[in-house]
Assembly symmetry: C2
Homo-oligomer: 401 residues x 2
């Protein structure tokens, strides 16, 4: 045992929106801690921080490997999640429970809000001279963590979006019209941009892609769609739920009559069809009300769909969890695991420790070089994305024989 | 060659909403006709009947098997589809083109509207003493063709719905609240009922299922949801887009400000989030506006998602197409292929010829024995459904250790 190690219990929490591979990271941490003489109990916090302050834990140190493997392949957060954003008093309660339970290792799997929680708890413990090891394991389908090439959960959600667009492009070819698909992503357009992977043949959709990184203008949108529609007789469009006007106001937030906000002050964007219907009606008004315009909102399906997992994503999520455990057991005090790409051909990544404060509450967005005319994604984005998503179904057509 | 056979060209059309396996049936017909001395050209009608009257055909007799196999595995209608509902004049044009092109074999892949088109064209040809063989090959994710145990396309769409619910149930467990999912099906609730396959463990959702076969009452719905929500702290709900009140008026049709109708006089139900948002708002009003209620509309994703195909469905779709070709080449004059279940354990089906008039423009609905209290589906429905859908992802949890 390295000399600066401490003996005690470990707690693991899963926070924020679930993903298809967040349980891989959970199992990765458990595997990484297993058998260490420093660790007594491995506790799972039921519903993240809210479980910690309620002393609601699940013991994980004796779960058989076979079951761990099944859980790793199960989408969503097996421990339950939470959207609580702990304030100072909440964090104090967490530290009190840690002291009472002799919890010396804290692993928190989540996005940038979760890494911030991890940072605050860590700093409070330090202030109290309570010896705690705090590690953040990255997770978010939004892919918006800084210092990360990409984040666990994104690849599988991107695979879902790509497969949905492969099918929907063929659907739209078969019964031509205008089709809008609304994709998750409040500030970052990575997942919406992933729709571009569906393009396999000439004229394949999505023909237009709108991400939150470019200001959205309804008149330009209508003109963009009209141009494609008159040229191809159809138009398939990917739109981020987070698109906003030039003043930074989310289009969706202007629609909601009765806006719901979460603990982080975020307006509810998902779980409603309002944005799609709004854009759809605007197009019908512009192009004639008998124009065939449809809108689908991918909603929660894209983050936890059972049976649509990127194998690379699953593997990386597992290793990110293991890496956090290894660092904690090697004497490191705190940090966040960042996935960084070492080479693209062959695809290779490294798992680096970075400071909690480097990642906490910051947002990574799409590199402007990928955004074309504010209404599309450059083909070069494929080089970045394809290795993370893995193989996609190959489709064929009867055209061009 | 049987004595009553005729030599000429064949035409194949794909009609109505596309499915994940309609190209299997297309390839099945092509394979069934291949090498017959009766068949000169095999013509694919581009966009179904609308391609026929425009003389817009794709030659299919020389497509290599390798490409046929890839096309069979491609979702949506490779020939393009149409929602045209031919009237008498339209059908006369079809017959004129058939005569001009010496088309003697007509294969039409589609649902009940399509079988009716097939029947009308067939009767007109008979009246004109034009020797035509007309066969309808079943296709519909709605599973609503009479005299069929089930229809090609349904099993794959049901698999999508089940996998979506497996993930969404875990999502809803992880971040508890009320979640409504709107599923396709105008008059028949089979696809909505398929959500029940997602139940693997105690308390798994969907907890409530609303199909068009039972009259929908908003007050009862609110009470149903409130009961589950107070008992489990969450509620996952499957709702058919076609739910209607006790007078038979579709709930969705009462919401649309600017209702679009198709050529069959059907009100647009898909491609809008209005129904989900309406039910969602009604629940927030009833349970308090801070109650976490979300609604997703599966929309077009459920019928053509690439990479979510029931292997049984794909196989049966192929064989239904082959059977139509075989019957036509064995001297039968017309008919529709019906899939009928011979035994359940082991699962076995037969492909029977039935009269076009037996299936045309009729709708099969869920057997009332499967509908429980107007808000759920009986567990026995699994015996019917599971063999058609095939294997689903197995998920595990950390509860009950």
């Amino acid at each position: 045992m390295p000399t600066n190690l401490i003996k005690g219990n470990a707690v693991i929490g899963q926070s924020g929106g679930p993903t298809a591979v967040i349980n891989q990271s959970l199992v990765g941490v458990i595997e990484g801690l297993a058998g260490s003489s420093c660790i007594d109990k491995i506790l799972g916090a039921h519903h993240a921080v809210s479980g910690i302050i309620k002393n609601d834990f699940i013991e994980l140190q004796d779960v058989p490997q076979e079951r761990l493997d099944r859980i790793a392949q199960t989408p969503s957060a097996a421990l339950g999640s939470s959207r609580d954003k702990p304030d100072a008093e909440y964090c104090k309660k967490i530290c009190d429970v840690f002291a009472k339970q002799n919890i010396r290792y804290f692993f928190y799997i989540g996005g940038n809000d979760s890494s911030d929680t991890c940072r605050i708890v860590n700093e409070l413990a330090k202030k109290n001279n309570y010896d705690l090891r705090s590690f953040h394991v990255p997770k978010t389908i939004d892919n918006d963590l800084v210092h990360n090439d990409h984040t666990p959960g994104f690849g599988s959600a991107a695979k879902f979006v790509a497969q949905a667009f492969i099918g929907d492009n063929l659907d739209n070819r078969s019964l031509p019209g205008i089709k809008i698909n609304i994709i998750m992503g409040r500030h970052a357009g990575f997942l919406t941009a992933a729709a571009m992977l569906a393009r396999q043949h000439d004229d394949d959709g999505p023909h237009l892609i709108y991400v939150p990184e470019a200001a959205f203008d309804l008149d330009k949108f209508k003109a963009d769609v009209a141009e494609v529609y008159s040229r191809l007789g159809r138009c398939l469009i990917a739109v981020s739920e987070g698109i906003h006007d030039k003043d930074g106001t989310a289009i969706a937030s202007k629609l909601a009559g009765d806006v719901q906000k979460d603990a982080h002050g975020n307006v509810q964007l998902s779980g409603t069809g309002a944005l799609g219907d709004h854009l759809s009606n605007a197009l019908k008004e512009h192009l004639g009300k008998n124009t065939r315009v449809r809108a689908d909102t991918f909603g929660y399906l894209q983050r936890c769909f059972a049976g649509c997992v990127s194998q690379v994503d699953a593997h990386e999520a597992r290793l990110a969890g293991r890496k956090a455990a290894e660092l904690a057991l090697s004497g490191e005090l705190d940090g966040s695991i960042a996935i960084q790409r070492v080479s693209n051909k062959p695809y290779k990544v490294e798992y680096k420790r970075i400071e909690l404060s480097d990642v906490a509450a910051k947002t990574q967005t799409l590199d402007p070089k990928y955004i074309v005319h504010g209404n599309n994604i450059d083909p070069s984005f494929r080089d970045y994305l394809a290795p993370i998503v893995g193989d996609l179904p190959i489709v064929d057509s009867l055209r061009g024989q």
